[in-house]
């Protein structure tokens, strides 16, 4: 135990002093989050596309849509009048729609007469988590005020009603766990394969073999060290992401358990590569060859469902997929059950890699 501690201290100090190591643990994920966040954030000045279903055939509804157009906040697109709006929204993955009811014209006629019975509601279907939602509501409100004033000056003839849609997630919510995932993967994988190659080349393994430190103790020390700094990395990346952007993900207890599990998996995989790799340069090349496809095929940047079938099969074979999904399940969707299953997969693969690595790795020469 004290040997493991001694190794964590000794190794950790070296790792953090090598600027590359510190950058990949802390600088890299923050850089990714900020860059991608900026690239994919909707910019405030853009017009929002607003699909409208007009169930009313009167000229009043046409006039109302004119007012809406005049706000210059929205681009109006028409939804066929015979469509069922909720089905249409689902089928077309809309996060926004406006419905003008059947009795729009007749209610206004009634109101302008003496039969006023309150405003007629136009319904905004929207996902409140999206920035486009606020713009649409503002546009409909402005159009209604202006429409009412022109027709009656006093009576609120039309008013917006809001129908919330199931909240979707922004790209960043999806992306944040992915960034954490690739940070854990690259740090553990690259560091371990490079360390193994360097230690072999410079004779450090032989040197270690002559101390009392056991191989498994050394492996555990690396796992503990990377777990600690990667949890710190998760916390800082999360802090920066939530300070700069509007995110909906949360750090859960389970996500803090996922990190060591992922560190364990990728530290072990890195060591397994280190068994075969003889020099640091080829270590880097092999780690790249493994991590790059994994980065793109494991749902880091976009959901697996969006990929062709055969790639989805490939993705299922990637350990990072389970790590990413597990993090996302708990951090974004609050799906504890799903997260636990993914955690289990990560741990099982990790144990296999660990056992293989500690059996195959030799500090000695044959």
């Amino acid at each position: 135990m004290s040997r493991i501690l001694a190794d964590i201290m000794g190794f950790g100090r070296q790792y953090l002093r090598s600027k590359v190591g510190a950058f990949f643990t802390f600088g890299f994920p923050i850089l990714l989050i900020v860059l991608f966040g900026l690239i994919f954030s909707p910019s405030g000045t853009q017009k929002v596309s607003l699909p409208v279903q007009n169930l009313d055939g009167s000229s009043f509804s046409v006039a109302y849509l004119n007012e809406l157009n005049n706000t210059t906040l929205v681009n109006i697109r028409m939804i066929p009048a015979d469509a069922n709006i909720t089905n249409y929204i689902n089928d077309n993955s809309l996060s926004l729609a406006l419905q003008i009811p059947v009795n729009f014209g007749s209610k206004i006629v009634d109101g302008l007469g003496s039969n006023y019975s309150g405003p007629v509601l136009v319904t905004i279907y929207g996902d409140k988590s999206q920035s486009t939602f606020g713009t649409a509501v503002a546009a409909v409100q402005a159009a209604s005020v202006s429409f009412n004033y022109k027709l009656s000056q006093t009576l609120p003839l039309v008013a917006p009603g809001v129908q919330g849609l199931k909240e979707g997630y922004q790209f960043l919510d999806y992306f944040l766990p992915g960034v954490v995932g690739i940070t854990v993967m690259t740090n553990a994988l690259f560091s371990m394969s490079a360390i193994c190659a360097e230690y072999r080349q410079r004779g450090f393994f032989k040197l270690l073999a002559t101390t009392k430190l056991r191989k498994y103790e050394w492996l555990i020390s690396k796992f503990v060290f990377f777990s600690i700094i990667l949890i710190l990395s998760l916390l800082t990346t999360f802090a920066v992401a939530s300070a700069v952007f509007d995110t909906h993900s949360t750090i859960t207890l389970l996500s803090l358990v996922m990190i060591p599990a992922g560190a364990f998996l990728f530290v072990s995989l890195g060591m397994l590569l280190g068994v075969a790799i003889k020099d640091p340069e080829s270590g880097n090349a092999v780690a790249n060859a493994i991590s790059f496809p994994m980065m793109f095929l494991s749902g880091t940047f976009f959901p697996l469902d969006a990929m062709p079938d055969f790639l989805q099969v490939v993705a299922r074979a990637m350990p990072l997929t389970y790590f990413n999904n597990g993090l996302r399940d708990t951090m974004v969707y609050g799906n504890t059950g799903g997260s636990l299953i993914n955690l289990l997969v990560v741990v099982v693969i990790g144990v296999i890699f660990f056992l293989l690595a500690s059996r195959l790795m030799s500090w000695k020469e044959r």
Partner: protein
């Protein structure tokens, strides 16, 4: 044969297809000495040392240290043996004090900063104790390596080519350090391909060549046994002097105008000088040429020891 501190019997290490890195060697090492394994590149020194350190498995033969079979129970020796591997380089990003404390921890030794600094003082690194190791000079790195190898206060210390690639000053510094370590009672197993180094430091030398030990003994013994004895050189004396000398029954040869008189037995030296001094000689200079391990090696192997090989 008395029980040695290290006992090696019929040890071999073969690498496929047909490299006999170590080829059936046997030797015993007595405690509290500097034992030097001397040999050119590829002689099999490191292979032998690493078998003894439990880092390689021999193809055949046995090796024991303190009576412990190194192939089976090396782990029980960890407290008693110190190791400086060939071309040792310390961890780049640790300062010497930190490296010593780190290493001590791996031996279950709690070492305070001042204890670590004391050890560094012993290897003369006090002034550089707070410099990142990657900024140390080659000689300083080796000194740090020796400090690490001394952490467990070993009874036996392996130094595999500790001075290779160092400049003469750094080399002499290390020699002094190694002698001090021996004075404290530590047995030192030193490999080198510098004849001078073995001659200066070792009490006991084994000359290794192509996996075999070709000669064994103290530097003095080896020179006496394998060196072509001391030679009296009569510089520029010429062939007339040669005839005169031979006429008095003294064996001599001529080489580039010099007359060379070999002295087979050092006790004869006086008598020979007396005989020569009676001759009227026109020599520019008279001196004796002593033989070194270099000559021993040349005579044994028929080739010059491969010097140089300055590994970065």
């Amino acid at each position: 044969m008395s029980e040695g501190l290290i006992q090696v019997e019929g040890l071999s290490k073969h690498y496929p297809p047909d490299v006999k890195a170590v080829d059936d060697i046997s030797f015993t090492i007595q405690p509290r000495q500097i034992f030097s394994m001397l040999g050119p590149n590829g002689a099999g020194k490191t292979t032998t040392v690493e078998i003894l350190e439990g880092l390689r498995t021999p193809t055949s033969g046995t090796a024991t240290i303190f009576g412990v079979d190194v192939t089976k129970d090396y782990s029980t020796l960890r407290d008693r043996v110190g190791i400086l591997p060939q071309s040792f380089e310390p961890f780049d990003n640790l300062k010497p004090t930190e490296a010593v404390q780190y290493w001590a921890g791996l031996y279950d030794i709690k070492m305070t900063k001042s204890q670590a600094n004391f050890l560094l003082e012993r290897v003369d690194l006090t002034e550089r104790k707070s410099v990142l190791s990657r900024n140390l000079s080659g000689g300083e790195k080796r000194k740090l390596g020796i400090a690490l190898s001394l952490i467990n206060e070993p009874e036996l210390l392996f130094l595999d080519e500790p001075t290779t690639g160092l400049d003469p000053k750094a080399r002499r510094d290390l020699w002094r350090l190694i002698e001090e370590i021996r004075k404290k009672g530590t047995t030192v197993f030193l490999t080198t391909h510098y004849l001078e180094e073995a001659e200066k430091l070792a009490d006991d030398v084994a000359i290794m060549h192509k996996g075999k030990i070709v000669a064994r003994g103290s530097p003095h013994d080896l020179i006496a046994r394998y060196g072509k004895m001391t030679v009296i050189v009569l510089s520029g004396a010429g062939s007339e002097a040669l005839r005169e000398i031979r006429r008095r029954g003294i064996e001599a040869t001529e080489e580039n105008g010099d007359v060379l008189v070999p002295v087979k037995d050092p006790t004869e030296m006086r008598a020979i000088f007396q005989k020569i001094s009676g001759i009227e000689l026109q020599a520019k200079d008279i001196y004796t040429r002593r033989q070194t391990l270099e000559d021993v090696f040349l005579n044994l192997v028929g080739a010059k020891m491969d010097e140089g090989d300055l590994k970065p």
